[in-house]
Assembly symmetry: C2
Homo-oligomer: 292 residues x 2
């Protein structure tokens, strides 16, 4: 297991972590500069942040600062009702692959979607098996496109509390079943993103990380689970402030040969997004060294 205590060369910042500074939206250009100024070598930006700045400008800035992208957030949201909506999801995912390619991301992270309409508050149906089938079909289709672009796809199993509205792939086992079905040869074109927040509770976690192996382990996201957790989406904790044994899980992942970035992804409406962006990044660096 790599020693993180001496430097932060393997720290990546998911840009949602500093999406807001003192409650105010931060432009991606400022986030990139703040990361580069601290010797942070990698980021993982969100599409909406990239779109707000402009893809060409972000691409230029990333190259200028020599930043790597540990991932690109995100493709997915495959389930839909009706051919038009399904095609719109398919087209949008292809654009996400193109953007990830332009930014030279390690992988496109897939948050696969749940029940259509649920995220807006009103599910159009309750057939989660149908959604799961549409997810498999959607990934299969996108995989062909992503292979031609040489852009790996990383399925991110989301915590079961997001099964309805964000992702109906909820365990690493389930994600790996899809990988095995669509990419039996483990070509490196399809794998998983392991976010400790989503999977820490899973009694089969170690077993499934071993099953994944280095070919399937494409990203490692870290943050912490707070007790109590006051919001299902935006109350993630800084590493060390919660109950997740992060070094244990990182050890399992690295034992498989994973040697990529440890990406900090924290959504925190009432705490970290209320602090100064620079202070949050400094804390990420400190905790990366001591608690990851």
């Amino acid at each position: 297991m790599r020693d993180f205590t001496q430097d932060h060369r393997w720290l990546s910042i998911n840009t949602a972590t500093v999406r807001k500074s003192r409650g105010v939206e931060v432009p991606l250009t400022d986030i990139i500069q703040a990361c580069a100024a601290r010797g942070i070598r990698a980021i993982s930006p969100w599409r909406d942040q990239v779109a707000a700045t402009g893809l060409a400008q972000v691409s230029k800035l990333v190259k200028q600062h020599g930043l790597e992208l540990s991932g690109y957030c995100r493709g997915g949201m495959f389930p839909a009702v009706g051919a038009d909506a399904l095609k719109a999801a398919r087209d949008d995912n292809r654009r996400a692959v193109d953007e990830a390619r332009e930014l030279n991301a390690k992988c496109l992270v897939l948050v696969v979607g749940g029940l259509p309409g649920a995220l807006a508050g009103k599910a159009l149906h309750k057939d989660i098996a149908l959604s799961r089938s549409q997810v498999s079909d959607g990934i299969a289709d996108l995989l062909d496109y992503a292979k031609t672009a040489n852009m790996p796809l990383a399925i991110e199993p989301l915590h079961p509390m997001y099964a309805a509205d964000r992702a109906c792939i909820n365990t690493l086992e389930q994600a790996l079943d899809i990988c095995d079905a669509l990419d039996p040869g483990k070509t490196g074109a399809l794998g998983v993103a392991v976010d400790v927040y989503h999977v820490w509770w899973d009694p089969k976690l170690k077993q499934q990380i071993e099953r994944a192996g280095s070919q399937r382990l494409m990203a490692l996201h870290v943050c912490d689970w707070l007790t109590p957790t006051t919001d299902l989406l935006n109350d993630r904790g800084m590493m060390g402030d919660g109950v997740i044994d992060i070094p244990l899980i990182r050890g399992w992942v690295e034992a498989q040969g994973f040697d990529g970035y440890s990406e900090v992804e924290i959504f925190s409406a009432s705490n970290w997004w209320q602090l100064d962006c620079g202070e949050v990044l400094d804390t990420c660096i400190t905790r990366h060294r001591s608690r990851v």
Copy 2:
């Protein structure tokens, strides 16, 4: 699959559902009378509610009204730090068995506990594997006692969002692994409580319900998952108001031979606990007929 549309003979009320009426705590005696007055044949009371009224009084009332107990809530909370705390948990669980026996409950429901201290906001350690091991040991010990009292134990896998503070048994598969280890002969002394709220998301749900079979399926709890869900504990929905395909899951359970009560268990601080207890019970009856 039984037809629920014509009557509510298979409806049970978990008394937490009407714990409060218009925001005010309701004595268990009132809940029992309100249920009996509506022809509801079964309840599942919580220990704190029983203690507040007095076990003897509750026992008398239950007999007087001819009520059955679809379960008794709850034993568990096994993990602890230190021999004294472990023994206290063990002793308390034996008292729970005694109470369940006095009330002639179908089973004692086990919410097994998570990381010690987490429910109070400060986990004493992060070793969920240790907690899981203590849970197995605790159930094994309690099982001997429960067998002499002829009181079946029903492990309730809780949603993974409660892994830290309430239960580190989070899937039906995991619960059944414990059942198979401790009661390989499927004697009827150890099984599971299936609460749709906790398990609806599980891609292996049907498979594991089939694995459980009638010997292990001891209780079926119903409510609904709302989108959005605004609180991790107390924002459960009334059947039909959320995304869970309850009849589908009930069908799977009944296909195994389960012929017990469908127990409504709703924690709802800002909605159902703010309404009148009688109105909530009437809605439970209506929805039991139409949406379960």
